[in-house]
Structures are given as C-alpha cells and as structure tokens.
Symmetry: C2
Subunit: 304 residues, 2 copies
C-alpha cells in the first residue's frame, strides 16, 4: 500500500500554548503533500518537523477564523522566497482571496509562482479536488461563521492479478493492464474468461475525515461513516458542554459519540482549549465511549 | 535608575529558522512595554519568554514587509480573547489599517478593546509618541518600501536632593518637589537659595535606536549619535555587500561602521539571513570595527 499519513502541525484552539500551535495538518499520500488549515507559525512547524514547504501545492481551509489562516501570508512569502514555481491552490471561502490580496500588497513579485484561489460552497457536500490518487470532498459543519470539514479518499486501487493463472493462459501485457482495471480476458480462440477468475480484490481504499471547528453535529455521521481515521475537534471536556454549545465547539465526549456512531476505525481529538495543561482528561473521557481515541500533539504522525 | 531593557523576540530576516523567529522586540521601561515590529509567531515568543501580552499598549511598525507584521493579526486576536480592555495603539504606514481591517473581518467583536492606528510619515524625523517616561521619534531609513527607524529616549529625570542641606534648611515637602524639577528655594525670611546648592544632577537619560530594514545609510548618524544602545540590521556578512546593496540591506561591517561613526555605546546586530547557521562570523567582522558588538538571539535581554 502507498504511504498515507496525517501529521499534526498544530493542535491548540484559538490561543497557542508553549507546546501547541494553532490548527494545521499535512496529509501525505505517497509523498504528495496536502495542507489543511494554516494557523500562525505553521511555516515554523514545517521546518521543525522537516517537511518541505515547496512540496505543498494544495491547501484546504476550513474557515476564516484567525487560528486557521494567520499562517498563510508567511507561508506563501516563504514559498516565494524559496523560489517555488507553478501554482499553489487554496480552497477556501471566497473572502480569503480579498483578505490575502490586501495583505500581500507589499510582497515581492512572485515571478513564476502563482496562488490560485478556489471558492468553497458551504451548502452541501461537494467534490473540491481530485488527482490521480485522491479525491477530496468538503461538507458543511456548523460554527459561528461558514465552516466545512474535508474527507480525503484514496481512489480505488487496481485489482491484483492471480499470477499463476495469467501465466498459465499466457495473458499478453496489454491485457494484463486491462485485467487490473476490471476487464474480462478474451483468449486467442475467442473464449471469455471472467475477470474474477484472474484477479484478487484490490487493496482497500483508505479515507481521512477532518472536522473542526463545529458544534456537535449528527448530520455529519453518514458522510464520515467508516472512515479509517477521523480528526474531530474536542475543544472542551464535557463539564463545559454549555460553553461548547455557546461557542459552537464540541466536547471530547461528544466527539467520541460521533466517532462511535459513524463506526470509524480511529479517532484523533484536537483543537484543545489552552486551559488544559494536560489533555489526558479529555482523552480518558472520549475512550469511555470510543476506546480507539488518541490526542493530537504537535509533530505527531498518524499512519492510515 | 528605572529598569530599561530591550528583549529580542525575533532575530531572523525574511525566513524564520529553527532558532530565530522574524523581527519583533519589546522595549521595557519601568514595566511599561512597547513593542517594535511583529513578525509571525511573536505571540508565541511572548508566551515562551514570559512577557504578558496584555501589558503591551503601543506597537511601532518599521515597514509593511511580512516578516515585520504577519504576527499582528494573531497577537491582536489573542489580546481580544484575553479580555484586554482599552486601546492598543499601532504606529505604522497608513496602509496597515486597510490590510488589517480586511484580515480581521471574521474576528469576534472586540467589545471593550479598540485598536487605534497612527499613520507614520516617512519623510523626516518626527516625534510619534510621548508619555510621562519616554519619547519616541521615527526617522527615515532606506529600503525597498517606505521604512523608518525609531529612537526611544527616556525623558529627563528629576534632580536628586542633597539630603543634608534640605534637612538643615527644613525645606517643606512641597518645595522639595519643586527643587527636584529645578526651582530655586525661597527661605521663610525671603532669602533665595539657588537650586544647584540643594541638588545633585539627575541620572543621565538613556536612549535606544532601532534601525531595520535599511541599506547602509550615513544620514542616520547624526540622529542616532551617542545612543546607549543601537540595534542595526546586519542581514549579510561583508562578502555579500553586493547582495546587501541589491536587496536594500546592510552588512555586518557596515553596521559596525555606522555604530563607530555615531559614537554609540553598544551595538546589537540582527535580522540575520537564514543562510547563517552560526552568526559568529558576522559578529567577528563587526567587532574589528566596533568591539562592543553583540548578536541578537531570540530571548536575549539587553539592559540599558
């Protein structure tokens, strides 16, 4: 299977702490890097964790609160100074382009490097990005301003050939390629051998869902159902559920309930309020409901 | 003497490194905090070095390149979240307000906290701030965009009373206060005792000059003459003087020459290019011309 991982660059909520920067993550599928959110100091975290800034060509922004975007200007400046070529694609609320255009007014000319903004809709689920390996969907969350989650899904893999059988039938190379894509095989004497006789099922596709910032929202359950890895915000412990409701955030217990109801394989909680010196109580609270819960810590890498 | 210090929050030039954040400093006079520049991650440095964000009421911005301002949005958000009251005054190019207004559009309402922008002129020397302890002047530097330096000067101190003499003459409290401000003393029988017979000279006033980003510019010498502490950028070593010229920066050797010609007491060099893993060669180069040179390192505090 191709390497597929999520690296946490920041795990705090609005206020950074000594050990937690604001939200940002890197999704790495086979050495293609996709960034989610970009809080202040993200470029510093990339450097600290040895991730090459120049390899990031796509950035997905959940919403326009500062702790999710204030690292963008510095990151883009650094990319430009580093001689990045081609296009950086940013998927975000349409207002971001206006904000950034004003802010970057005094930046040096970008020469061969261009930032392309793709406005997101916050109304329903939508495919917002696709390449040869991955499809990314956005879907609405519910926060104080328009906000969406993202699902990263591997594209279906090729079928595996049954080596003994294709050799026995002397299947030509061209037909082997077709077999991997699901075609049946036609022998030289015109006999059809159905695909399933010559192949094994493909590796399962993996998926990662990212949900922050949001009030606890059951409507996302069918969308994130059975993902391999779910990152869900857990800004507060459950004793502050009133505050969570008021500020449109989720408690750790609520995040675990969502994970359990959606039947996901593993849950990462993060976006912790700076009031928690240790997040162990939040993890403990979640594990009562969903045992396979882990806290996001800056620098952690989760393999899918 | 009142405590008067400069703390380095960031000492890198445009690209932050693992150990150097972009430019920001705190001038502390008797526990009043004044910030100069605010590169990305400044709020993280404040937290790291135990400096209370809420105590900063005045920020002076040299110019609008990202490595000097991209920390402002996050810092202001954090101040607001921390419940800061009253006014934060920012002294900068008039364009900054426009940039910030766009960027902060999605921020929560500030309630009792207001940001007041004071546009700077970049044409000549000007008093831009004054309180009971300090006067701050701006003066033009020469960079790729409008840029100015700042001088922080303590206001003249009170005269010291000659305790033996004022006691001998039974000088009343009210007249002692007047004596400290330079008044003569009139005895109950109408005799005038001149001030200098009853006082010692005041403590000397101290001054700090901040000069970055700029090409090496001799015109600043009369302005910064004899300051106690000069921070001058030294982005490059002298073997890259052509690059310094091209990018409107100064070499370490040039910074030392400025310090020597201006007769300052101590020089801090900073704003180092990220190419220098060690800045020792830059310090060594400066010390040949101006021995009392020190490198800025994040977290360093220089007492005046």
């Amino acid at each position: 299977m191709l390497p597929f991982s999520v690296t946490i660059l920041g795990s705090s909520s609005a206020l950074p702490t000594e050990t937690r920067f604001p939200t940002s993550q890197i999704v790495n599928l086979n050495d293609r890097l996709y960034m989610i959110d970009c809080g202040e100091g993200t470029q510093i975290q990339l450097r600290k964790f040895g991730i090459k800034t120049g390899k990031i060509n796509h950035i997905f922004i959940s919403h326009l609160h500062g702790d999710h975007i204030f690292g963008l200007p510095g990151l883009i400046s650094t990319m430009a100074l580093g001689g990045k070529k081609g296009e950086l694609h940013i998927y975000a609320h349409s207002e971001l382009k206006i904000m950034m255009d004003h802010l970057m007014k005094f930046m040096n000319e970008l020469d061969d490097f261009k930032v392309v903004y793709h406005p997101l809709s916050f109304r329903g689920r939508a495919v917002i990005f696709e390449d040869s390996k991955m499809v990314v969907d956005s879907f609405p969350l519910k926060h104080r301003i328009p906000c969406c989650g993202f699902i990263f899904r591997e594209k279906p893999h090729e079928l595996h050939l049954r080596g003994d059988k294709v050799d026995y039938l002397n299947v030509p190379i061209r037909d082997r390629v077709a077999l991997k894509s699901g075609a049946d095989f036609c022998t030289p004497d015109g006999k059809i051998v159905p695909n399933h006789e010559l192949t094994f099922p493909p590796d399962p596709t993996r998926s990662y869902a990212f949900c922050t910032d949001t009030i606890c929202r059951k409507q996302i359950i069918p969308i994130i159902e059975k993902v391999d890895l779910l990152y869900h915000e857990a800004t507060f412990a459950d004793d502050l559920s009133d505050l969570a409701l008021k500020t449109y955030h989720t408690t750790s217990k609520q995040a675990a309930r969502i994970a359990a109801d959606a039947g996901v394989k593993k849950l990462i909680i993060g976006h912790f309020s700076s009031r928690y010196k240790s997040v162990k109580p939040l993890v403990d609270e979640a594990r009562v409901i969903f045992p396979n819960t882990f806290p996001a810590n800056d620098g952690d890498r989760f393999e899918l």
